[in-house]
C-alpha cells in the first residue's frame, strides 16, 4: 500500500506537467511559511538567544552561517542524486532539478564562506583559515561554479542537464574525499589547530533558534528550486498542448 503510494508519487512528480500543477498548489502557502520560519529563527537567534559565555555576541553569526552551510551541502548532494537519476534513467524531472538546484546552492555556499570569515575575525583574529571546513566550502563553491558553467556552455538543455548531472555525481564523491584530505594536511603542517565551533555542548536556548533558522533556510531553498524548476518546465514544454492552454488562459 505504502509502496504503491510512493511509486505513484514518484511517477507523478516525475512528470513535468504534474510537478507544475503540484507546485502551483504548494507555492502559495509554502512561500509564507518558509519566510516566517526563517525570520522567526533569525530574529530569535539575534535578539532573544542568550549570549555565548566565551564569544559574547559575535557567535550570533551562527544563525545564518550554519543553516547556509547545511543547505549548501545538502543542495550539492541532492544535485548529485538528481544527476544519477538523470544519467541512468534519463528522467526529465531530474534533469530539470539539476538546473534548478544549482544557483541557490552556490549562493548559500558564498554566504557560508563570507559569514564564516566575518565570524572568524572577532573569534580568532583572522578572516581566513585553511582549516578543513572552510577549505571544503571553498572547493564546494568551485564545484557549484563548475556545474553552472558546464550547463551554460551546452546549448541543448537535456544534454546540458545530463552533463552537469554526471559532474555533480563525481563532485559528491570529491567533497567527501576533500574533507578528509584537508583534515590530514592540517595534521601534517601543525599550527592551524583552531576549532571553528565549540560543538560539544550547545545550550538548548541557543539550539532551538538554530534549528528553526535551519528549517527556514531549507524551506526557502525549496521555494527557490520550485520557482526555477517551473521556469525550466515552461521553457522545455513550450510546444506541448498544456503549456499553450496555460499561456492562453493567462498564466498561473
Amino acid at each position: 500500500m505504502l509502496w504503491k503510494t510512493i511509486k505513484r508519487g514518484y511517477h507523478q512528480l516525475g512528470s513535468p506537467r504534474y510537478f507544475y500543477r503540484f507546485s502551483s498548489a504548494v507555492l502559495p502557502w509554502l512561500t509564507p511559511i518558509a519566510l516566517i520560519t526563517f525570520v522567526v529563527g533569525i530574529v530569535w537567534g539575534l535578539a532573544f538567544a542568550p549570549p555565548d559565555y566565551q564569544q559574547g555576541n559575535s557567535y550570533r553569526i551562527i544563525y545564518i552561517h550554519v543553516p547556509a552551510s547545511s543547505g549548501a551541502l545538502m543542495g550539492y548532494v541532492a544535485m548529485g542524486i538528481a544527476g544519477m537519476v538523470a544519467v541512468v534513467w534519463r528522467m526529465k524531472m531530474a534533469e530539470i532539478m539539476i538546473k534548478a538546484i544549482a544557483p541557490f546552492g552556490a549562493a548559500l555556499t558564498a554566504i557560508s564562506l563570507v559569514t564564516g570569515a566575518l565570524w572568524g575575525k572577532p573569534t580568532w583574529g583572522t578572516y581566513w583559515q585553511w582549516d578543513a571546513r572552510m577549505t571544503s566550502m571553498l572547493i564546494l563553491l568551485f564545484m557549484y561554479i563548475g556545474v553552472i558553467a558546464l550547463q551554460n556552455a551546452i546549448r541543448d538543455p537535456r544534454q546540458a542537464a545530463r552533463a552537469a548531472g554526471l559532474l555533480a555525481m563525481v563532485g559528491v564523491i570529491n567533497v567527501v574525499i576533500v574533507k578528509y584530505s584537508v583534515e590530514w594536511v592540517n595534521t601534517l603542517h601543525q599550527g592551524s589547530t583552531l576549532k571553528l565551533v565549540g560543538e560539544s555542548t550547545i545550550n538548548p536556548a541557543m539550539k532551538y533558534p538554530l534549528l528553526i533558522s535551519m528549517l527556514g533556510t531549507w524551506l526557502l531553498y525549496a521555494v527557490n528550486v520550485m520557482v526555477r524548476a517551473r521556469t525550466e518546465i515552461l521553457s522545455r514544454e513550450r510546444r506541448s498542448g498544456w503549456v499553450k492552454q496555460l499561456v492562453a488562459a493567462g498564466g498561473r
Binding site: 544519467v87 572547493i139 568551485f142 564545484m143 561554479i145 563548475g146 558553467a149 558546464l150 556552455a153 551546452i154 541543448d156 544534454q159 545530463r162 552533463a163 554526471l166 559532474l167 555525481m169 563525481v170 563532485g171 564523491i173 570529491n174 574525499i177 576533500v178 584530505s181 584537508v182 590530514w184 594536511v185 601534517l188 603542517h189
Partner: protein
C-alpha cells in the same frame, strides 16, 4: 581484450606520429617549474620549502592541459561515434585510450620529476618519494581529467571550461601527492601517504572509465 589491444596500439601509434603531443606537456612541466626560482628566490632553503608543492602543481597543470585534445580529434573524424555504437562496451576502448595517453604524457613527467626536484633543491632522500607520488598520482589525474574532457568535447571554448571543471576534482590527489614529498623532507614515513594515493588511484581506475564513457555518450547526444 582484442578491442582493448587494438585501440591501445592505434592510440600509441597516433601519438608517436605526432610527437608534439608528448613533448609539449613535458616542456610545459619543465618550464613552469623553472619559473619559480626566478619568481621566488634562488636561495636553496626557500626553494626546498616550496619545492614539493611547485613540482606537484606544475605536473598537475601539465596533465590537465594535455587532456583538452584527448577526444577532439576522434570526434572530428567520427571515430568517437563508431566507438560508442560499436558492439563492444565503450569502457574498453576508452580505458585503452586513457592508458595510451598516460604512457605518452604522464610517464615522461614521472621520469623527469627527480631532475626537477633536484633543481628545486629537494634533498636526495625526497627524490624517490617524489617520483613514486607522481607515478601513482598522474594516472588518477589523467582519468579524472578525461571525465572533464569527455563532457566538454563538443564545445568550442573547451579549454578554460575544462580547467574550471577539473581543478576542484584534482585537489585530493594534489594534497596527498605533495604531502608525500613534504613528509619525506621532514623525515616521516611515506608509505601511508603513498598508500592513500594508491587508494585514490584504485578508486579513479575502477569508476573513472565508466564516467568517461557515460560523459562521451552524453556529449555525443546518444
Amino acid at each position: 581484450m582484442r578491442a582493448f589491444r587494438a585501440t591501445l596500439m592505434r592510440e600509441l601509434l597516433l601519438l608517436w606520429r605526432n610527437p608534439a603531443e608528448i613533448i609539449n606537456p613535458l616542456f610545459f612541466f619543465v618550464m613552469v617549474v623553472s619559473l619559480f626560482p626566478l619568481a621566488i628566490s634562488p636561495e636553496p632553503k626557500q626553494l626546498a620549502l616550496v619545492a614539493p608543492g611547485v613540482v606537484w602543481v606544475a605536473a598537475l597543470l601539465a596533465v590537465m592541459l594535455s587532456m583538452d585534445g584527448l577526444f577532439r580529434r576522434d570526434q572530428e573524424s567520427g571515430v568517437l561515434d563508431q566507438l560508442l555504437t560499436a558492439p563492444v562496451l565503450p569502457v574498453i576502448p576508452v580505458s585503452a585510450k586513457l592508458l595510451a595517453h598516460w604512457l605518452m604524457t604522464g610517464l615522461p613527467l614521472v621520469l623527469v620529476s627527480p631532475l626537477l626536484g633536484h633543481m628545486m633543491q629537494l634533498p636526495t632522500l625526497a627524490l624517490e618519494p617524489l617520483m613514486l607520488s607522481i607515478l601513482l598520482g598522474t594516472p588518477s589525474l589523467t582519468v579524472v581529467g578525461a571525465i572533464g574532457a569527455a563532457l566538454t568535447v563538443g564545445l568550442n571554448r573547451g579549454g578554460i571550461l575544462l580547467a574550471v571543471l577539473v581543478l576542484p576534482l584534482y585537489i585530493p590527489v594534489l594534497i596527498f601527492g605533495a604531502g608525500a614529498v613534504t613528509t619525506a623532507v621532514q623525515g616521516g614515513p611515506v608509505d601511508g601517504v603513498l598508500a592513500v594515493l594508491g587508494a585514490l588511484l584504485a578508486l579513479t581506475l575502477s569508476l573513472g572509465p565508466l564516467a568517461v564513457a557515460a560523459g562521451l555518450k552524453i556529449s555525443s547526444g546518444n
